[in-house]
Point group: C2
Chain length 367, copies 2
């Protein structure tokens, strides 16, 4: 390398240090290695990740290979939950969030997650923060049995303010063609079972930030103080005798439903991931034409965090249901004959309603 003119602009001085980024990438690669499945051919890079799809020998699906594989893919970010994580310097949970958000989307088709890629865009995030995120991503991938196949970290001064970031994920799964779950077999009288959410998951944070005045660009010390406040109604853990801190509640990672649902997949006629839009925005998406859902909102107790948000922000009841999951993260539709078997496989699940004829515009009816 020739000696550089001291008055010249280098890329590092402009805010992008290519070499430091390279060192970090090799640490990411080590984390990815811990998620490897036998199908992964190369480590992260050089330009792409490689994953060998296992096919069935001959016509039978026995032996674990796929006969007629359908690839299922999704992308999403964790929304503005990143603002709260950055404020408290707690990044590990975001890794779980971004994996769960995407894995929960693809398993609605009956798919098995195969591999995941993450993208971190940001400005001035330190290496520890990036490593925490990727460690969380790798941990969550391992739990869901999918390989962390690659990822990208982009330093983007001018697009993000210092310390800000966006965290985006991308997952690919596979499902046998004749096992695709698409809701088309759902019929009148089918039972709707709901599995509890672990909290807000990754939706509604722009509203929550406004309600509590956190992560909105105010004085960081004051915003942190607000997040550390304990509310008596919030009891997330047994140790939270005097109430859970708001920040702990809001940063609890998005729950991944793959491990509990995979054993009962063949019995499920439809699966709705309750993310942005809540139950009224997501449940109708799996219902065939002419059918609606009658949901009994008293069938489960709405967790205290949602009532706290509602009180603090004077948020209208219907708005709450349109924005938040209100305590139910996943809803599955099963025939009445299968309901008990599925419910015993999902011990925390409750009957939240049933499929009804008609319903017109408002496909989710709440008595």
């Amino acid at each position: 390398m020739s000696p550089e003119d001291r008055s010249s602009i280098s890329y590092a001085e402009a805010g992008v240090d290519v070499e430091a980024a390279g060192r970090l990438v090799s640490r990411f690669a080590r984390l990815a290695r811990g998620t490897r499945r036998p199908e992964v051919i190369a480590d992260v890079g050089p330009f792409a990740g490689l994953f060998r799809l296992t096919l069935a020998k001959g016509e039978s699906a026995s032996g674990g290979g796929y006969r007629d594989p359908v690839l299922v893919a999704s992308t999403d970010s964790v929304g503005t939950k990143v603002k709260l994580a950055a404020l408290l310097g707690r990044y590990h949970g975001l890794g779980h969030d971004v994996v769960s958000q995407n894995v929960n989307d693809i398993i609605t088709t009956g798919a098995e997650p195969l591999f995941f890629l993450d993208y971190i865009g940001g400005c001035g995030l330190d290496d520890d923060a990036k490593l925490s995120i990727v460690r969380g991503v790798a941990d969550a991938c391992r739990e869901a049995g999918c390989a962390l196949l690659g990822g990208e970290t982009a330093e983007m001064p001018g697009v993000y303010a210092p310390g800000d970031l966006d965290l985006v994920g991308f997952v690919v799964g596979v499902v046998e063609r004749d096992a695709v779950i698409d809701g088309s077999r759902i019929g009148e009288g089918d039972v709707l079972l709901g599995s509890p959410s672990s909290g807000l998951h990754t939706n509604g944070y722009t509203l929550v930030r406004k309600v509590f005045g956190v992560g909105i660009g105010g004085d960081p010390a004051e915003e942190r103080r607000r997040l550390s406040r304990r509310y008596p109604g919030l009891k997330g853990t047994p140790s939270a005798g005097s109430g859970q801190a708001l920040g702990d509640e809001l940063l609890r990672p998005h729950r991944c439903y793959y491990n509990e649902l995979k054993t009962v997949m063949p019995r499920l006629k439809g699966i709705a991931h309750i993310s942005g839009g809540g139950i009224p925005g997501n449940l109708p998406r799996i219902l065939p034409e002419g059918l609606g859902a009658r949901v009994d909102r008293t069938a489960w107790e709405v967790p205290p965090i949602f009532r706290l948000i509602q009180e603090q922000g004077s948020v209208a009841e219907e708005e709450m249901w349109r924005v938040f999951n209100m305590g139910i993260g996943m809803i599955v539709a099963v025939s009445p004959a299968d309901a008990e078997a599925v419910r015993s496989a999902l011990p925390e699940a409750v009957v939240v309603g049933e499929v009804v004829r008609g319903a017109g515009e408002r496909k989710v009816i709440c008595p």
Copy 2:
């Protein structure tokens, strides 16, 4: 929906309009439909995109199906090129950028692109801007023969300043296991052919913005004036008699190399996509241990835009080569016996160097 308390906070008031977003999604779905391949099972959504992988009947690969498919995936954004596009309100090219950046990464393995997903994170971007981006993505997908299988648009006030955005892409391709190109067969004396870039592609924009004082948060009118300045040396199009405007040059879309390379894939021993890190940062990534590359930088003319950047910013020569592609967007390694056949299939390609023994730390040698 019950009447809302006027003093309550709604999600739309907090900056996220779920219903308007829903209307936009159906317009995105129409654009995606124009990229559909027979393998695509569902339209965009409800929760994920489905793509049926075509397998060979029996043991032979004839008939177009895959016998032993390896999935190849990549994710990347277009970097801070978004700042210049936003400044000029010209978004369509960004769609091409994000597709080409990712497709060029996966075809380095010999893969055929199958499907793509896009993610737009931002704040206050109007619908026309988002539609322009997705239209560009769909056009570029169609050109590369891959399906736009899904995507996500996230409104994130507080993470992005109004008008700012990040554009991230994810692509999945497939290659027959025994056709994977990984550079391992590259040997001493192999010929390196380089295909011209169309400009900066998607790298080096943070440096460029600093050099020209554009997209750095200054007075927008003044920044636009700087981008509209014509430089006599820049001759991008025949009509640019008095020189191309800087903004036109900087926004020219990233070139996609799939259509030209696919016909010669079986003859290629290694493919390096020259993106961030330039030739010295990317070419070594495909070379086996103990081999280096001797690159003759006089073998092609470095396009005027790079010399203009260098002059205006007093950027050191080596720094230019480490940050920018300097006119070569893709380098392939072929045996000397194949060089002429490959070069005639890639009429714009030039011999940029050869593979040499040794080279140690500095794997790219420039005489």
